[in-house]
Symmetry: C2
């Protein structure tokens, strides 16, 4: 699997597209906007050393969420230059980053309408700061910018993705270490779980080092990604992600003879959901950033269920919603390994197992870590 060239969200603007199935990601943006606002304000009041404030969204994807972030920063910058007057008016240079497989054309073609709507929204109220939006293709596990040229990095619902399937798990010729699973499950050997942990540590350390080089002194990062509540890597599975149910869907396709067993055994998700302590440990080890803020919050698996409780009100409809949101994210990855033609079957099974799960255990919850860091 070549993450840089093959990995992307579900394309197009149809029923199964990411564009139309990214409400969970949007809710995370709303949940964390206070943290983002604070970081933007603080950066706006520093000496920028440059004619403009450089703001980067890492893993921007393509859809309304991409520009939601941009409009948020513009709003704060406009408001602060106008009313508080302690910060100078500023021009904003945005970079929207994602892997080269992302549909940047879609983002770029929506900019004209976005600019019109934001001009209309700011009319008469607050100052609209001049802003410029560029697209930057590339993995955030590589250098993306000249040294000390950025002021603020943002990344939402992305940093649980690893740079690769954990090293040691994908080597050819060896037996499959994580048989029947696609992530850490109850039957995953401890050695495999350690490979996942090590991959997280290496990736996160690399990420911090790269962004440290690119940020100006005092620059900030606001990062939101899937995490775990408990330290026990096995205990959190069913609360935390529905990928165990996705594995079960694939297992049942193996039983029906539609998927080759080896095909399943050789597939592992390039993902890891750390606990807060694991995140803090890597940041401490790096000695490059101070943690201004760190919290854990949850979000229902069902993107359209905004209730606070643990009950799924309509398990069948919820399961359909959940399967659709999983397909928008994992569909292309599964298609490239198992074949496009199996996608409908995989997510039909998935909806079935999610329904069962919701009936037995109630609404599942994603756990998200929101983190605000300041460069030392």
């Amino acid at each position: 699997m070549n993450m840089e060239s093959d990995f992307h969200m579900a394309k197009g603007e149809g029923e199964t597209s990411y564009v139309n199935n990214s409400r969970i990601q949007q809710k995370a943006l709303l949940e964390t906007e206070v943290v983002l606002e604070k970081a933007v304000r603080e950066v706006l009041c520093m000496d920028l050393h440059q004619p403009a404030m450089t703001v980067v969204d890492l893993g921007c994807s393509s859809g309304q969420n991409t520009l939601f972030f941009v409009s948020k920063v513009i709003k704060v910058a406009g408001h602060d230059s106008d009313e508080k007057s302690r910060c100078n008016p500023v021009e904003l240079q945005f970079f929207l980053n994602d892997l080269p497989g992302n549909n940047f054309n879609h983002v770029f073609r929506s900019l004209e309408r976005f600019k019109e709507s934001i001009t209309a929204r700011h009319k008469g109220n607050t100052l609209l700061p001049p802003f410029y939006i560029a697209g930057l293709p590339g993995s955030y596990y590589t250098r993306l910018f000249p040294r000390q040229s950025c002021h603020l990095f943002h990344s939402s619902f992305c940093l649980h993705w690893r740079s690769r399937v954990p090293a040691g798990l994908e080597e050819g010729g060896r037996e499959y270490l994580n048989e029947g699973n696609i992530y850490i499950a109850n039957t995953t050997p401890a050695g495999v779980a350690e490979l996942y942990q090590r991959q997280f540590q290496n990736d996160m350390l690399l990420f911090l080092k790269l962004r440290y080089e690119e940020l100006v002194f005092g620059g900030q990062m606001v990062l939101t990604f899937l995490g775990r509540k408990y330290e026990d890597i096995y205990n959190d599975g069913h609360l935390n992600h529905p990928w165990g149910l996705l594995a079960r869907s694939l297992q049942s396709l193996v039983e029906e003879g539609l998927v080759n067993k080896e095909k399943l055994d050789s597939f592992n998700l390039p993902i890891y959901t750390p606990s807060i302590n694991e995140v803090k440990a890597v940041i401490g080890q790096s000695e490059l950033f101070n943690v201004s803020h760190i919290t854990l919050f949850d979000s229902n698996w069902d993107p359209h269920d905004d209730s606070q409780g643990d009950d799924a009100h309509n398990t069948i409809q919820s399961a359909i919603n959940i399967a659709k949101s999983l397909r928008a994210v994992f569909g292309p990855l599964l298609a490239s390994h198992f074949g496009e033609s199996l996608l409908n079957e995989i997510f039909k099974k998935c909806a079935h197992y999610v329904t069962e799960h919701l009936a037995e255990r109630g609404e599942g919850k994603y756990l998200l870590i929101c983190l605000s860091l300041k460069r030392t």
Copy 2:
């Protein structure tokens, strides 16, 4: 016609695509590379006031030419940091700019291979400076960057495009002023030619003002675009561009009843080819730039004819080549006005009239102005 959203080169990678029909544009890049090299060297040796040198290609399009420019700048920057040692090693931040209709996805997806090839080419010879490539959608007749954030602008084979069909020529409800023509031809009224000239002056003045704001003091621009040899706006028609033959193709489709006469009368190309004196006059009027270099050179209409003479060796093949290269550039514009279904017919006619022209008058020549400017 909405230039910002509708205008682009012929898409895809097929036989009629711009990607496969942009050799004329490539030849202009080769012809002007000495001028570009000089500008890059001079900018590299100034105080950049920023951690990196910001280099912008305006109207980058999508294809090999886009990255040819990038590789040229990298080569000069690498060479200069390594051998001459009077200039500091530098990081390069590239912005590839074009209208939002441009296929940025295609450019972005070719970057991985580009990086590999450039790393291989620099191996052992010269230092490869770190470089980062972003895409920036938008018209260069608007502000694209924060103030004083750029060091070098480049634009090749683009600035003959106007921001719009000349003001006054496209107004609804009035009679058509440039009947039967699509640009300035012998039967074009003097008033229409003046509208074209005025549009050029306004656009060019705006362009200079915008770039002046975006460039640092001492920043440079290298601009190559179609121009005229003689001051007489009517005299240069057949030497200078084959759009008169394109108009004749459309006229003959009107005669055959395939195109409505009003459809032709209402169409005018948003283009203008100034003389060197006209260009100098606008720059002088702006008082924003000093001219370091200005030349006129010619290039055969036939992209595959590299000979110096005036004879077309194989008029039929040359005419086919010329019609293809015209279609790659003007095809989308003609399709949006006359309908996609007429394109084959238009360019079949066009090849016919070009053949006639070549037999009567020999190989046609484009005239190109290459201009190097320094910000005051």
